[in-house]
Subunit: 331 residues, 2 copies
DNA sequence: AGGAGGTCGGGGAACGTTCCCCGAGTCTGA
DNA sequence: TCAGACTCGGGGAACGTTCCCCGACCTCCT
C-alpha cells in the first residue's frame, strides 16, 4: 500500500538508483535506452518522487509563501483585492513552476507562527500583501534573510523591494479631474492611514487642492463599503454644500454612492464621485463609477517577477506602475 | 550562516539530541531542569526544526491543499466567493494548526501537476472548491487515496464527502417569494449548467413554476456580472412582458440590474429582481438586492471541519446547510 | 595496437529529523 | 539495606532523495 520509492523503480528497471534519479531529473548524461527502461518502470509502478526527501537534501522547496495581513475583525472578507492579487500572483507563480503557500497573518499568535514557518525552511521566498505601517511583521521577516518582496510599498523603506502603483499620480489625476469640472467643495474619504496607499492618496488630494486655495474636507474610512457609507454621512454633516468626493478606493466610493442616494443627492449633478482602483464592480454602480485604474493583475505579476529575480540574482529593484483615469458617469 | 540543527542545540545544552527532540515535541517524559536547559539553548541559538526533515520521517506534512478550479479565461477574477471561501477556509485551517497550500487548477498541464503534487506527499489532505461537473479532477484525485472533501456537491456522487448549502430550498423560496407578490411572468438567469449549484437552482425554479401553470423563461449565464447583464438583455428580447427575474447568483443579478436600468425598467415596480448568495455587494445596489443568503463562511468552516474529521477518523458525512431569504428593495 | 580521454553507471554519504530500544539511575517497599 | 520496578536519557537506524566520486567501458587518435 506504500508508495513506490526510487529504490523500487531501480530494482524494477534493473539499474542503479543513481540512474533513475538522473532520468527523473532530466539530466542529459544518460543513455536513451536506459532512460526508456526507467520511464517504463516509473509509469508501471506509478512512481512519484517524495517531496520531503527531495526538499531535505536539496535545501529548497520550490514553494513561495503569499503572506496576507488578515485583520481579526474579519471585515471586508469579500475584498476584491484579495481575490485579484492572490489569484494573479498564484497564476504567475504556478507558471514559473512554484507552489503557493497561503498564509493569513491575523492574530499575534499566528504572526509568531509565520516567522517559525519561514525559519523552518518550508519556503524559498515570500510575498507580503497589504501590510499596514504599524505591522512589525515585515521587519521581523526581513531579518530571516529569506528573499521577500512586498506587494505595495511599505511604511519602512529599505526593508525589501516592492511593487506599487502610482498612488500619488493617480490621486492627483482624480482630484484634478474634479477641479476641471469646476467643482468647488471637494471632499475626500481616506483609507486607513497606517497604509501607505491611503497616505499617498490623501497627500496627493491635499497637495492638489492646496494650489487652488480650496480647503481640505477629510473623512476617514478603512477601505470597506460600510466605512465609505459612514464617512459620506459624516462629510454631508460637516459640509452640506460639498459638490464632489474623492474616495480613496472604489469600495468606499460604492458606500458613498449609497449614502448620497439615501440623502437624495443626485450623482453627478449635485455631487460628483470618483473612486480608485477600477474594480469590476465600478462598472455596475448606478451611476457607473468614474475611477482611477490601478493595474492590479499587472502589479501582482510584477511582484512575482521581482521575487523570482530576487531569488535568482540576489537583488531586485522596486517598481512603480502607472495609473490612468477612467471616466464614466459619476464624475 | 547555516541554521542551527538539533545536534547543535544538543551540544550547546550538553544533552543528547533525543532529549532535545523530546523537549521540542513537548513530550511529558522529560525532567523540568533538562527542559529548561534545552529551551535556553533553543532560544539562544534561534533554533527552528527543519520542516522537510520532519515531514520526511513522520510521513506527514501538517499541510492541507485548497484546490480551486481556475478557468483559463481569467474571468470573474474578483469573484467574492473566492475571497470568502479561501479566506474562511484558511482561517479555520490555521486555527487547527494546519498550513495551507493554495493550488489553482487551470490548464490541463496544471491539472497534471496537481495530481503529482498530491502524490508526492506534500499535503495530508485536500479541499476542492468550485469544481464543475465536467471536470475529471475530483475523480482523479479521489483515486490517490488521500483524504479529500469538496466545498459544494460534486456532479459525480460518492467520490468524496461534501458540504453544500440548500440550493433547491433556497431557489424554491426565491421563486415562491416572487409568486407571493403576484408576479406573472417570472424568468430566470441560470448559472453554468455543469455546476451542481446552478443545476439545483434551475431545477427548483422550474419545479416551483410548474405547479402554477406558468411557463419557464430561461437565459444562460456563467455566474459573472457581465453574463447576467447579457442574459437580461436576452430575456427582455424573448419576453418584453416579464415582470420578475430570479438570478442564480448575486453577481448576475447585479448585471441584470444594470441592463434593466439601461432599458428604462423600474425595479421593483416593473420588474422584480432576486439574487442568490447574499454577497456584501447586494446591500449596495440601487435598489438594494433581495436575495437568498447562503452561509458561505459557515460552509467553508464546515468543509474544513469535515476534512479534519476525515483525516482523523477515516470517514465523514456530507452536510447540507440551510438557506434563508433576505428581503430588501428589489423584490 | 595501445594508451589517453571522455562518457556513463554504481556505491555510498549526507540532509535533519523522529522513534525505537536499551541501559543507567532513582525511588520505593519489604 | 537490597532488590525490583519504574523513570528518563543516549545511541543509532530509518525516512527517500541528491550528488559526489570513483571505476569501467568505449572510442578515437597517434
Amino acid at each position: 500500500m506504500r508508495r513506490p520509492t526510487l529504490h523500487a523503480v531501480a530494482a524494477r528497471a534493473g539499474v542503479s538508483k543513481s540512474s533513475v534519479s538522473r532520468v527523473i531529473n532530466g539530466e542529459p548524461t544518460v543513455a536513451p535506452e536506459i532512460r526508456q527502461i526507467v520511464m517504463a518502470a516509473v509509469t508501471e509502478l506509478g512512481y512519484v518522487p517524495n517531496g520531503a526527501a527531495r526538499n531535505l537534501v536539496t535545501q529548497k522547496t520550490n514553494t513561495i509563501a503569499i503572506i496576507v495581513s488578515d485583520p481579526p475583525e474579519g471585515l471586508a472578507s469579500d475584498d476584491p483585492m484579495f481575490a485579484m492579487v492572490v489569484r494573479a500572483a498564484s497564476r504567475a507563480l504556478e507558471a514559473a513552476g512554484k507552489q503557493v503557500s497561503l498564509v493569513l497573518a491575523g492574530s499575534d499568535e499566528s504572526r509568531r507562527r509565520v516567522e517559525q514557518y519561514l525559519a523552518a525552511g518550508h519556503v524559498d521566498g515570500a510575498m507580503l500583501v497589504s501590510m499596514d505601517g504599524a505591522d512589525p511583521l515585515p521587519a521581523v521577516l526581513a531579518r530571516t534573510g529569506l528573499p521577500i518582496v512586498s506587494h505595495g510599498r511599505l511604511a519602512t523603506p529599505g526593508l525589501m523591494p516592492w511593487v506599487d502603483n502610482d498612488n500619488l499620480g493617480g490621486a492627483t489625476k482624480a482630484v484634478q479631474h474634479l477641479l476641471d469640472q469646476g467643482r468647488q467643495r471637494i471632499a475626500t474619504i481616506s483609507g486607513p492611514l497606517d497604509m501607505t496607499a491611503a497616505q499617498d492618496r490623501l497627500t496627493a488630494y491635499r497637495e492638489t487642492l492646496k494650489d487652488t486655495g480650496r480647503r481640505s474636507i477629510v473623512a476617514l474610512g478603512d477601505f470597506t463599503r460600510i466605512s465609505g457609507a459612514d464617512a459620506m454621512r459624516q462629510l454631508l454633516a460637516d459640509d452640506p454644500q460639498l459638490d464632489a468626493v474623492f474616495a480613496a478606493n472604489d469600495l468606499m466610493a460604492i458606500g458613498a454612492l449609497r449614502t448620497l442616494r439615501e440623502a437624495g443627492r443626485r450623482v453627478p449633478e449635485d455631487v460628483a464621485v470618483i473612486g480608485f482602483d477600477d474594480i469590476e464592480a465600478a462598472l455596475y454602480t448606478a451611476p457607473a463609477l468614474t475611477t482611477v485604474r490601478s493595474p492590479m493583475g499587472e502589479q501582482a505579476a510584477q511582484t512575482t517577477r521581482l521575487l523570482l529575480d530576487l531569488i535568482a540574482h540576489g537583488s531586485a529593484d522596486s517598481v512603480t506602475l502607472p495609473t490612468e483615469i477612467v471616466v464614466r458617469e459619476s464624475a
